[in-house]
Symmetry: C2
Subunit: 379 residues, 2 copies
């Protein structure tokens, strides 16, 4: 009961538009003021809540102290392995990104052990930076571009040519020491970041994570949809043309072959250099992005016809390219999605920058603490 | 509490492998024998449970009376409008189909009002048959090949060229009188029929309803997955080739154009006559079904990559054609589904015959009564 009430108080503080007083929390939770005060004392003592000085107020009476999530409370470390970069960030309890790092290195020539060691080093370095700034990292989550089991086994990451990589086992006892690390799919974590960055605006959507590979995170009624076994969202391997070019997964005509980063940048420099060139050269972008958008729209129309969501969020490299991609995505959706006849689809660019999955990973750690503060305070 | 316990007792009786005694029910529910006896008396009085004579038993003591769901208790009426037939059936509380009717008539030249009046007549006739046999129809559900809202509005049924048909309003006060009628998508109801026909074997699957159109009912962890707004499963309009033939929905290259009944039967007699010819002529079937199976497999592979289910059930006309369709469906799935590398897919023919959606509709009515017996007994 106490664990439940601690979480309830934290939720009220997190959801409030301005720092609520203890009396405000009592009123909104229905708990007595004495109970709320005891819970707040515990949460302040546990480093999860901070008190902020009273704002000048009209009227009589002693102005009340306001409560906020503690910006120097436990923080989350988010890490991301992607095909051509590693990324990491530290997010505080309020959801603010405090430290960030990205390493643009093609991971494909490297062994899984080398890549995992490098991302662990990046994490350890961010953890040290956070500690120097007065923040304790409470846990970590790692985003990977592949299909992961609950035990941290990466079954398959086609663009890295990884299969059966025991990521959790490899990380244990490395540079991250005994920090708990969970492992999840990068598009899932990026979709969660999008959901929480947006406040209350989004209900159900497909987040499209455009990188070397293309993944999707599906959110239904503000919950991540994971499919029957946790391996949903492999949008990059939805077929666009059954006799199209061969994909790294082995099949023919997968979406990645038409709209993945390497298809968009053929004959251009790889990575950020090529992407910057596309964004800067409107003529070039108009020449090659709409047809990629059409392929994306064909694949997404099938997804929407099956899953019934009304919003598509273009993320990763697709976010900044949305001005050239979105019109043809929208055209295919309105042509092919049955419900669009009476309920038009929305296509929008992600509100997040690059490495959204790392932000989502760190945010997931922090939200776990807020959801079960008693767990954290016991440690 | 009493309502909850009535349902609990019914569930125990329904799940038992042999008719349980009142003492058995008390033991399995944790309720006292006195409470169980009172509840059972109510359920027997309400016509939901029946008592069956004691089986000869070894040992001393008076043999106990066994409890079963009442085969003459309230029954469900299931109705189905499909593109080239109307169907109906009455299912008793035990899930057994007691009455059945199918009318093979192409519905496309007819107006929605005419079709709805005809299916209501069919329902009224089945209700009369059931009454003559001593069964009271407690409610009805209607399956339609389109996208339906909770209020019984058919937003769109592409193969009937229907849109915005107020089916619930049109049925009200017609030949079905004041019988409550709910309306749902035919593939959803057929998937529910498959789930319950199979006992405990199926957990998560895509049921493919092959008719003139192609629909899908998605079951995840034994629950129907409806998508964000209830309009999931439009498999027939997943794209196979972006520049393929034009579909009735207006888009190009939809699955229905490759694997719908009319594509399978081109140059053959329409309907059951053509299907019977295909099934009887192995050479003909081998000539045209595998390529339809490949298209089905391409579309389903995308669905499975997105939704993560491990079983595909081929239903409707695809069930009896599975010997010729399934191998190419399986080949595409194993080629294209990422998880199939370590977790092979299962493709199987439906356990149900034709008009599975009508059976699913009737079963849904009966399961609603069993889930909330107090509601039924109050009326």
């Amino acid at each position: 009961m106490r664990a439940h009430n601690l979480a309830l108080v934290l939720r009220q503080v997190a959801a409030a538009h301005r720092p609520p007083s203890r009396a405000d929390v009592a009123a909104s939770t229905g708990l007595t003021r004495a109970t709320v005060s005891a819970l707040v004392d515990d949460l302040v003592g546990g480093g999860l809540l901070a008190e902020v000085g009273p704002a000048p107020r009209a009227g009589a009476g002693r102005p009340a102290v306001g409560l906020v999530l503690h910006a120097y409370g436990p923080a989350g470390l988010g890490l991301e392995i992607n095909v051509d970069y590693l990324a990491g960030c530290v997010v505080d309890l309020t959801g603010t990104v405090r430290h960030r790092a990205v390493l643009h290195v093609d991971q494909r020539p490297l062994s899984p052990d080398t890549v995992l060691a490098a991302v662990a080093d990046l994490g350890a370095q961010l953890r040290t930076e956070a500690a120097a700034a007065g923040r304790v990292v409470a846990g970590a989550a790692l985003a990977v571009p592949g299909l992961v089991s609950g035990t941290g086994l990466i079954h398959r990451a086609p663009n890295l040519a990884w299969h059966d990589v025991d990521a959790a086992g490899t990380l244990a006892g490395g540079p991250l020491g005994d920090l708990p690390v969970t492992i999840d799919n990068e598009a899932n974590l990026a979709a969660l970041a999008e959901l929480h960055a947006d406040g209350q605006g989004l209900d159900s959507f497909v987040y499209v994570s455009g990188e070397i590979g293309i993944g999707a995170g599906i959110v239904l009624h503000r919950d991540l949809f994971r499919g029957a076994r946790g391996w949903s969202g492999e949008l990059g391997h939805v077929c666009v043309r059954p006799d199209g070019p061969r994909c790294r997964c082995g099949a023919l005509g997968c979406l990645e072959q038409y709209a993945g980063q390497e298809a968009l940048l053929r004959d251009l420099p790889a990575g950020e250099a090529g992407l910057a060139r596309l964004r800067a050269d409107d003529e070039l972008a108009r020449h090659r992005l709409p047809s990629a958008g059409t392929s994306l729209g064909v694949a997404l129309a099938g997804v929407v016809n099956m899953l019934d969501v009304d919003t598509v969020v273009l993320g990763g490299i697709f976010g900044p390219l949305a001005p050239w991609l979105a019109p043809s995505v929208e055209a295919e959706l309105s042509r092919r999605v049955l419900t669009s006849a009476w309920s038009p689809m929305t296509v929008r660019a992600s509100a997040l920058g690059p490495a959204a999955a790392a932000v989502g990973a760190a945010g997931a750690v922090v939200r776990d603490i807020l959801a079960e503060p008693a767990e954290w305070m016991r440690t």
